[in-house]
Subunit: 476 residues, 2 copies
């Protein structure tokens, strides 16, 4: 497995070079994160459909458990269970809008993941950076598990576990564990763990800092010791249930799944689940005794356990909902952890927005009112009062306010409008509003993905690596 | 599935054109052989190892259930469950010997399967034709199920069910059901069903013709009605047991398989099987209560049921052994059907050669003596007397002899020597003589194949077809 080990060293060296100002050595982490023999135990796969333009190239790669739905390009990249989802790549001729900017695409957009490492990261390729209109590059980036990269060209970064980089272009940064970033660009910056930071230039600025000690109980990360904490344990403990979906080539469609719902064949359903019309259950989502109302979604790496989602609910990448009832159009952001014990009911009112990376972990009954914004760490009713605000109140804010550990600046109205717009656009893109003819989305089109399974070499110098594979549109 | 249908029509038209002198229309058969929707139900796969040079190209293809281990090229070819086994392709620089001829190969040999149909055919690419030193073409050929093509460039042929073309280049022929051909070249010829025909130019000539009426009980074929008969029913009835190996990505290695044995992951083992050292159990072989002694093999599409093979036994592609005990070095040729009822024992003595396409089907005890050649249709002791000869007696024949429906001409000595040489070379190639260091063969190297699974498009005009895929040696 010499060539694979050399490749990892090469990427470590590059990331260290790019992060040299922080005097960081990512080597000890990168070498230990996955015992080298594990690379032989897993296969990689890629999804094909008839409507995503493809031009796949996997060159001298180690890539396990990854899906690429659109035009693609990978080089010497270790990806190990990282999912790169390219089903929203832009097409040639499309108009790329970014604020007041508007660009016409000359070519179909492609993913580029050149010399990059990434391990167990979810990359969703809806690029928001007009400087990279036709490409979605990542070059070299090392992640701790369960990081999300959402619309972000990268280069030489280190992402802590459960970190999310959203609508953000990041260069040469270290992003702390469980941090959430949403801003235009960030370079040469070290972001502390548990930083929730949204910065829309002159319009609004949202900054919440998790209390360091309390956060460590949920996510504790050290580059030498690795990842620990409640969130990590929760996810790891569910891993065995995924075994079967990866062992089997064709799966039977379970009962109680509406014919107009998209249940990804790499999702897990256990117990008694109901999947209504226009529901999207994405790859590596885990549902157990989950009742998904019309147009609700469970995005990649979500967990919905003993829960009922009334309808048109967005459960963003990596969000976890355990023992809860969510009314209509509740939004639960990336990597949010929403959990009650079964004994004490947790209810969330209609239209409420649970910010990305919110931790709600209650051992007492809690009723979260409708149309509120909720953020931070909430373990009881007092925490909820400190870390929530009625959306109409927030809309009235014109300059700034502080509440607990939150500091908000700018237009509350713009902030609420931006969120509501995004929720609507997610629902639409995912096919929640499909009427049988129009507004088709992922919930409809993702029913027809053909997944191809590729395996690494089992012997020789390339052991653990994959052959060079090119897949093209038909040539006739 | 329009494009797939068009492709089938195109191939039918070409094969009909090439067979026009026989006034044959293969269309009714080709259109009906596989209901078009079946193409969506199966996946194709290909094997990769570190030691077979690869340069795969699958272009605008429908190919399900196929394995390609070496350098390759496929174009608009429907292959459906046809296995193309390219693990004996010759390398650049190798010397290709054919009789007294000797050629040096300039390039790695490649498979070419251009516009060809083929359905459920086994193609084993050890080419014997010096006119095609670096290529193994098939161009366009339609087969009924369970045909074998072994070392044969082809073009515009129609092969009946269970027909075998062995060490033979065939152009524009129709080969009848269950016929076996071994000769240098054959073109523009119609071969009757049940013709067993070996022709080594001036050296020997072996011709046996099955009684037509009796053969129909075992294999009955009509281009309109399709395939029927005991052999076909036997194979079809075992198909459900293959389901699991195709459903699952990784299979556990069963007990009682020697660590120096190669059990292909697409083989089926049922009941209590013992697999000794240096045994090769190839893809789609079926073993049930089979005891495989040291160095024995079960090649592709074999069935070994309630049987004991003492050691160094060759069970060639598609041979079936049911309720029998085989002593050391018994050779059972391609598609032979050797069956007793469990009540009456069938034993075959050491060193005996069961000719390809022999049918031994007995309801009474039968003891086949050692060192004999056995051929034709045998249903009792009288048939055996008519259809067998001691190998030392055969070796004495210098001009010709007739026995029952067999007509032999030429040197019996050369015939026996050629067979014995081939048996030894098969054993060696398959690794039967591996001593832990030297004479490595398939039984050793085939333990490390990585199988990659590819699926057809599920929607759109290309429904049922595969994308264009290129797989290369690493490029660095």
């Amino acid at each position: 497995m010499k060539q694979l080990e050399n490749l990892i060293e090469e990427i470590v060296h590059r990331v260290n070079t790019n992060l040299r100002e922080f005097r960081i050595d990512v080597g000890p982490y990168a070498r230990k994160a996955v015992p080298i023999k594990q690379f032989l135990k897993f296969y990689a796969f890629y999804g094909l459909t008839d409507y995503h333009p493809i031009d796949f190239h996997f060159g001298h790669s180690s890539l396990a458990g990854s899906y690429f739905l659109g035009k693609c390009h990978i080089d010497d990249s270790v990806l190990y269970k990282t999912d790169v989802r390219g089903d929203e790549l832009k097409r040639a001729g499309a108009t790329f809008k970014s604020g007041e900017l508007s660009l016409k695409l000359r070519r179909n957009e492609r993913i580029v993941v050149r010399n990059a490492y990434l391990i167990k990261t979810l990359v969703h390729c809806y690029s928001h950076d007009p400087e990279f209109a036709e490409e979605f590059p990542i070059e070299n980036t090392i992640s701790a598990p369960y990081a999300n990269i959402h619309g972000a060209p990268m280069r030489g970064c280190f992402l802590g576990p459960f970190a999310t980089v959203d609508l953000t272009t990041v260069h040469d940064c270290e992003i702390g564990a469980f941090s959430y970033l949403q801003m235009g660009e960030l370079s040469h910056t070290q972001v502390e763990p548990g930083t929730i930071w949204l910065n829309n230039g002159y319009t609004f600025h949202f900054l919440y800092q998790f209390p360091a000690e309390a956060l460590r109980e949920y996510i504790d990360f050290d580059r030498d010791r690795g990842v620990a904490g409640v969130l990590f344990d929760f996810v790891e403990s569910h891993k065995p249930h995924f075994q079967k979906v990866f062992d089997v080539v064709h799966l039977e469609r379970p009962d109680r799944v509406h014919r107009r719902a998209a249940l990804n064949r790499y999702a897990v359903l256990r117990g008694r689940c109901n999947i209504a019309e226009n529901v999207l259950v994405a790859q590596r989502a885990y549902l157990e005794n989950a009742d998904m109302g019309k147009g609700a979604n469970a995005q990649e790496n979500c967990f919905i356990v003993n829960a009922r989602l009334e309808g048109y609910n967005v459960t963003a990448h990596g969000a976890k909902i355990i023992h809860a009832v969510l009314k209509n159009k509740v939004f639960v952001g990336f990597n949010a952890f929403v959990r009650s014990t079964g004994a004490s009911p947790l209810a969330i009112g209609a239209g409420t927005i649970i910010m990305p990376h919110t931790i709600i972990d209650v051992a007492e009954p809690l009723d979260i009112p409708p149309d509120h914004l909720v953020w931070g760490l909430i373990r009881n009713a007092a925490d909820l009062r400190e870390n929530s605000l009625r959306l109409d109140r927030l809309s009235e804010i014109k300059s700034s306010f502080r509440q607990g550990r939150l500091h908000f600046q700018g237009s509350g109205k713009a902030f609420v409008a931006a969120f509501r717009h995004r929720i609507e656009s997610i629902l639409e893109t995912n096919g929640a509003y499909f009427d049988g003819r129009l507004v088709k989305g992922h919930a409809q089109s993702d029913q027809n993905i053909a997944f191809n399974i590729i395996q690494p070499f089992t012997t020789g110098g390339r052991k653990g690596l994959y052959p060079t594979i090119d897949i093209h549109e038909k040539v006739r």
